[in-house]
Amino acid sequence: MKNTFSRRGLLTTLGAAAAGVLSFAAARKAKAAIKTVFVRTNAPKDYNPYDHKWLMCFDVDKCIGCGLCVDACKKENHVPEGPTYFRNWIERYIIKKPKPGSDAARGEVIVDSPNGGRDGFPPTTIPREEILKSFFVPKLCNLCEHSPCTQVCPVGATFDSPDGAVLVDPNYCIGCGFCIQACPYGCRFLNPETKTAEKCTLCYHRITRGLKPACVEICPTEARIFGDLKHPVENDPIQNFIQKNKVNSLKPHLGTDPRVLYANLDKEVR
């Protein structure tokens, strides 16, 4: 019986198959391109991430610890209820007077954040005469220029977007939790519903529409200042803030180069 398979036939078939698969990939690309033009999404179309660089500043001396920012963030981003799921939160620092006879400049430092500060802060049980000083520190994702969380992600689900936001791609996140451990500021958590890592997105759906993030919008004392470094407005609040204050960032020794700046930050804050 004659062999019906020939080398020529096999090579032609393989070549045709490869061409078919490659044209299939090209078709996929074309379909995606068509989709971006014709399929309507809620996302604003005229936003170019290369055209912005966002910066967040805090004035610690202006924060009154009302907790409205935490509440607003939970409502805006539909953050799950519960005492451990926060995209931003407020910490209360209480620095006690040094013990009599000791040569220390300051005593014990007590930090608390009941329910992230969402319901405000109850009066402290520490008597007033024992307190050297006390203040509130609002915290959120520090928008690191060299972010440890993106470096440890094994699937590349978290990334630094060109406009300065550090985002998580929930479709790619496998929920391993490496980034939660890697973040030196404790800004991430695992969403119990989606089982993916979640963090402050700088209210990406708001800043792309020209709105301020919910926490900045809601802050009653202008302790939070938010702006675009690439588009300074007249009498720019960000430039004024950096000019008038001595600004610092959290944990500068880690080399993360945060883009969240704090004015009037105490040495004890970490």
Partner: protein, 149 residues
């Protein structure tokens, strides 16, 4: 060319080719649009609907109230700080916007209750010895706190 070298070349081409094809199929089309990640993820984050409408949205209809507000001590406070998220009210102005209950003092005390951690520039009261039987709105107007009703 010896046949074993030819087969080796053929095998290499087959392996590299199948890798290229698999990569084409497995990478999402928007990968490398902005960097080493799925570019569509940015649009997906941006596609959520805002819950808080922002001060500018309130200004469209309630300019008279805001003009008064901007003259007084509460000028830094956004409308939605006390009135709550209002994008539903913006989309449909006939739907009722939330009005803070004037008989309730929690909205005021959230910022003005005495607390040693608050900055000294913040006006604070001790609820127990500051007209404890009366409600805040009886003496202070929320939009013009320096005026008496």
């Amino acid at each position: 060319m010896p046949p074993q070298v030819f087969r080796l070349i053929l095998l290499t081409v087959a392996i590299v080719g199948s890798y290229v094809i698999a990569r084409q199929l497995l990478t999402p089309p928007s990968f490398r649009q902005y960097g080493f990640y799925r570019g569509e993820a940015l649009a997906e984050h941006a596609s959520h609907t805002p819950v808080f409408a922002g001060r500018k949205a309130c200004l469209e209809c309630h300019e008279d109230i805001q003009k008064k507000l901007f003259k007084d001590a509460h000028k830094t406070i956004g409308c939605e700080t006390c009135h709550g998220p209002s994008s539903a009210h913006c989309a449909d102005p006939d739907s009722a916007a939330k009005k803070p209950d004037k008989k309730n003092t929690t909205a005021c005390l959230r910022c003005h209750e005495a607390n040693p951690s608050r900055p000294v520039t913040q006006k604070q009261i001790n609820v127990k010895n500051h007209y404890s039987s009366q409600k805040c709105a009886e003496c202070h107007m929320p939009h013009q706190p320096n005026e008496v009703p």
